[in-house]
């Protein structure tokens, strides 16, 4: 059947986009294909992808987490002051605990109070960002110890530490989401919460845990980010929330929940980074860059929809030619 070929094409569309971007930029600029630039792209993708994994988990359960960027800022700012004064371990632990705390508050207000994920995390976004400003009082903290700086900007065997960290995180999350009972329950909750609860799964617990993991992921990325910048201030990380939604959508995880996943989001994050990196090399203005990213998001949603049409085999969904 002809529609089978189309289905296949749609399934691997993201790889085609990836290859297309790759070869396009390589032809246009000799710098693009150099080893340092390729490593640089992956390192840039690292932070974005880790935040996006959290966003993906929230979206798979049928929710969203709008607080990730601000939780990232709050946890890393507070951590930074401890990193400066005390020892590294304390600083890291405090950062992680704050992230976890914000995340679990999100989870609790969604399940126990019954706020929609959008509202709950939008509120947290303001609160966390506000607290970060209050805590920093307009100042910056900079100049961390060499050991801490290694985490975000060090290299091992010529490859940035960030790439190893991303690899580990990706493998762990892919394993958890596709291979464990917990992962299965995340997808089941996202597909049909009532039926999953009536199968004896504590869906509230699943949702609380997802948002807690998101808080934790935000804190981890926050720490790596300030380590890379060698500075912390209250305004950092504002782009992360929206960019991670973009990476999730480009990767092919739909807002309806129960489908998609972390592996797809990895591809989404790489596409996002490739786009920005390539356009930077070509000297395209950042206004245009935004527009292009938007276009790619819309394009992925379009393929998603067309894919559904062919899957459903339903007449009404096919665009009318009349």
């Amino acid at each position: 059947m002809a529609s089978n070929n189309i289905k296949l094409l749609i399934k691997y569309a993201r790889f085609f986009i990836l290859i297309l971007l790759f070869s396009g930029f390589s032809l246009l600029s000799p710098h693009f294909l150099t080893f340092p630039n390729q490593v640089n792209i992956l390192a840039q993708a690292a932070l974005l992808s880790m935040v996006s994994y959290g966003m993906t988990l929230a979206i798979v359960t049928g929710g969203i987490d709008l607080s990730m960027g601000s939780v990232l800022a709050l946890s890393s700012c507070i951590a930074a002051s401890f990193l400066k004064s005390g020892n590294i371990i304390d600083g890291i632990l405090i950062g992680l605990i704050i992230g976890l705390l914000c995340g679990s508050i999100n989870g609790l207000s969604i399940t126990k109070i019954g706020l929609s994920p959008f509202i709950a995390t939008y509120g947290m976004d303001w609160v966390a960002r506000g607290l970060a400003y209050v805590y920093m009082g307009g100042t910056q903290i900079y100049g961390f110890s060499a050991v801490f700086r290694f985490l975000g900007s060090g290299q091992f065997l010529g490859v940035p530490a960030l790439i190893y960290e991303m690899a580990i995180m990706t493998i762990v999350l892919v394993f958890i989401t596709y291979k464990t009972i917990y992962g299965r329950n995340i997808y089941a909750t996202g597909s049909n919460k009532t039926a999953t609860r009536l199968s004896g799964v504590n869906t509230d617990k699943i949702i609380i845990s997802i948002y807690s993991i998101n808080g934790l992921l935000s804190a981890i990325v926050g720490l790596l980010y300030i380590s890379r910048l060698n500075a912390a201030e209250a305004v950092i990380g504002t782009d992360f929330t929206l960019n991670s939604i973009a990476a999730t959508l480009i990767g092919g995880t739909p807002f309806s929940g129960g489908e998609g996943g972390v592996a797809q989001t990895f591809i989404g994050a790489v596409i996002m980074t490739l786009l920005t990196n390539g356009m930077n090399i070509l000297g395209i203005s950042s206004y245009w860059q935004n527009a292009v990213v938007g276009f790619v998001i819309l394009f992925s949603l379009f393929i998603e929809k067309t894919g559904k049409v062919f899957n459903r085999n339903r007449l009404e969904m096919v665009p009318k030619s009349k």
């Binding site: 596709y178 291979k179 464990t180 009972i181 917990y182 992962g183 299965r184 329950n185 997808y187 089941a188 597909s191 049909n192 009532t194 039926a195 999953t196 609860r197 009536l198 199968s199 004896g200 799964v201 504590n202 129960g258 489908e259 085999n313 339903r314 007449l315 009404e316 009318k320």
Partner: protein, 506 residues
């Protein structure tokens, strides 16, 4: 009789293929004007698919459709509507967050002109809706949101929706599956009125007794093939069953009454606002206990409260003599209680997921004690149940949404059989299930009782509940108002209690 002998609709050699299944293989069908034409066949025989082709939901791969002897092309729902074809779907297609009037008049709202702007005429819409509901004797507020309705009420709204526009051919795909006697009577009256007006009705149902009551002719499908068309008046039910399943079904209800064991479940003074009032009962090992009553009598609420989905205001639940301190579905499953809910699409299944994933969903911890999923094991287990329950699916990977209604129900059954629960609640287990499969399910329930499981069975089918249970509790307006032992079953008496006019004789 108003049956004129002209053929109003003719389907010729309709073929439809889905990935892995030939759902329809050159099926033909002729419908006369003003007749009730029953479409009969096992689960997955292709009845719904044929009807969806007729009303433009699916595209046919081959064959022709004639209306009034003229060939027509149906390329979408709108085309079918223009040709006067209406359908009441097997699955509900209502918008949960809209009210009843908005659902009924969706896409054909009455309009009016205000200062040359075309707007929806709300007052006319609600007035027309009320009239329509009244004419069908449906006592639901037209402003009620669909999400707040029970299944039977949703079904009545679907019926009203189909009747809101002029139709020549009306398809009813298992309209009575979710209804009780009272509403079924109303529906049959409506059907008779439509017939008198010359409307042709294509009627799909697994309740064979209904065929005699309203059907004129019957067409039987099996495995996507046309088997034959017969007149209702000169065909016996046994013959129909034989055409349908290809063999004879001896005895539908074969119950071996066991020696009753220990008390498995005891419920004391259960109260849930006005829906359940002071309900107490017991179920023992090896016993099947029926709950009979009208829709809204509170049977499903009792089941869901026992299962921990609703929090009772008062009352306690004991499992093997031990009082449950925490009531949640998770606790219930831990205490080896299982629930096959009545609304399989919303509560029993995650229809976006595959057959195998649904089968293991309630037993994940048992099947994979390490917490790590093993594909092979999952596949092996689901294959076993697919075979045992005769689930019609090309493989275990098929998305549940694409199974026929009856086969979806079997997946829910497989899911709870796998948990090996001690106490199993069946809420309308045979709804939408063909006779062959019904016999299989009854056999499984009997087997479970033999193994000492305690079974609570909610059913609106009086024959089935009397044929299968050890005891029956009759519920009326949230209360248990009578209890019968199987030696003293009396159909009239049980029904009279259920409608609130009960009096015990003898």
């Amino acid at each position: 009789m108003s049956i004129k002998n002209d053929i109003i609709l003719r389907l010729e050699n309709i073929t439809k293929e889905f990935p892995g299944v030939l759902a329809l293989d050159r099926v033909s069908l002729e419908v006369k004007q003003g007749e009730v034409h029953v479409l009969l066949g096992e689960n997955g025989a292709g009845k719904s698919t044929l009807m969806k082709i007729l009303c433009g939901v699916y595209k046919k791969d081959g064959g022709k459709i004639f209306i009034d002897n003229k060939e027509v092309t149906i390329n979408g729902v709108k085309d079918a509507e223009k040709l006067g074809i209406g359908i009441i779907h097997q699955e509900f297609n209502l918008l949960p967050f809209r009210d009843i009037a908005q659902n009924i008049f969706l896409g054909k709202e009455p309009r009016k002109n205000i200062k040359l702007v075309d707007v929806i005429d709300r007052s006319v819409m609600y007035k027309k809706c009320r009239e329509l509901l009244d004419s069908l004797e449906i006592n639901i507020n037209e402003y009620a949101l669909v999400k707040d309705l029970g299944v039977a009420q949703k079904q009545m709204v679907e019926i009203a929706k189909a009747l809101s526009s002029e139709v020549k051919i009306l398809i009813m795909d298992e309209p009575t599956a979710t209804l009780t006697k009272n509403e079924i009577d109303k529906l049959f009256n409506i059907i008779k009125q439509l017939k008198a007006k010359g409307v042709s009705i294509i009627y799909i149902s697994h309740r064979l007794e209904e065929i005699k009551m309203i059907g004129d002719r019957v067409t039987v499908l099996r495995d996507g093939k046309y088997i034959g068309t017969v007149e209702v008046c000169d065909t016996s039910t046994d013959e129909l069953v034989k055409m349908m399943v290809g063999r004879k079904i001896e005895n539908l209800y074969n119950r071996t009454y066991n020696k009753i064991g220990k008390e498995a479940l005891r419920v004391e003074g259960l109260t849930l606002d006005k829906r359940i009032r002071d309900v107490s009962f017991k179920i023992h090992e090896g016993e099947i206990v029926g709950f009979y009553g009208l829709v809204g009598a509170g049977r499903t609420e009792v089941a869901k409260t026992v299962f921990g989905e609703y929090k009772p205001d008062k009352g306690s639940i004991f499992v093997f003599g031990r009082k449950l301190s925490k009531l949640t579905p998770t606790e219930a499953v831990k205490n080896k209680i299982g629930l096959l809910p009545e609304d399989r699409k919303e509560e029993g299944l995650t229809i976006k997921m595959s057959v195998k994933q649904n089968i293991v969903q309630a037993s994940l911890k048992k099947v994979f004690p390490s917490g790590i999923l093993k594909e092979d094991l999952e596949l092996e287990i689901s294959k076993k149940y697919i075979k045992e329950l005769n689930i019609a699916t090309p493989d275990a990977h098929k998305i549940v949404k694409n199974l026929s209604g009856g086969n979806q129900q079997k997946v829910v059954l497989a899911k709870w059989l796998l948990t090996e629960s001690d106490i199993i609640i069946f809420d309308e287990p045979t709804r939408g299930i063909d006779v062959g499969a019904k016999a299989e399910i009854y056999e499984i329930m009997d087997e479970l009782a033999k193994k000492g499981r305690a079974i609570m069975m909610i059913s609106s089918d009086i024959k089935e509940i009397m044929g299968l249970t050890d005891r029956i509790y009759v519920m009326y307006q949230g209360k248990i108002i009578a209890e019968f032992d199987h030696q003293n079953y009396n159909q009239e008496e049980i029904i009279s209690f259920a409608i609130g006019k009960g009096e015990k004789h003898g």
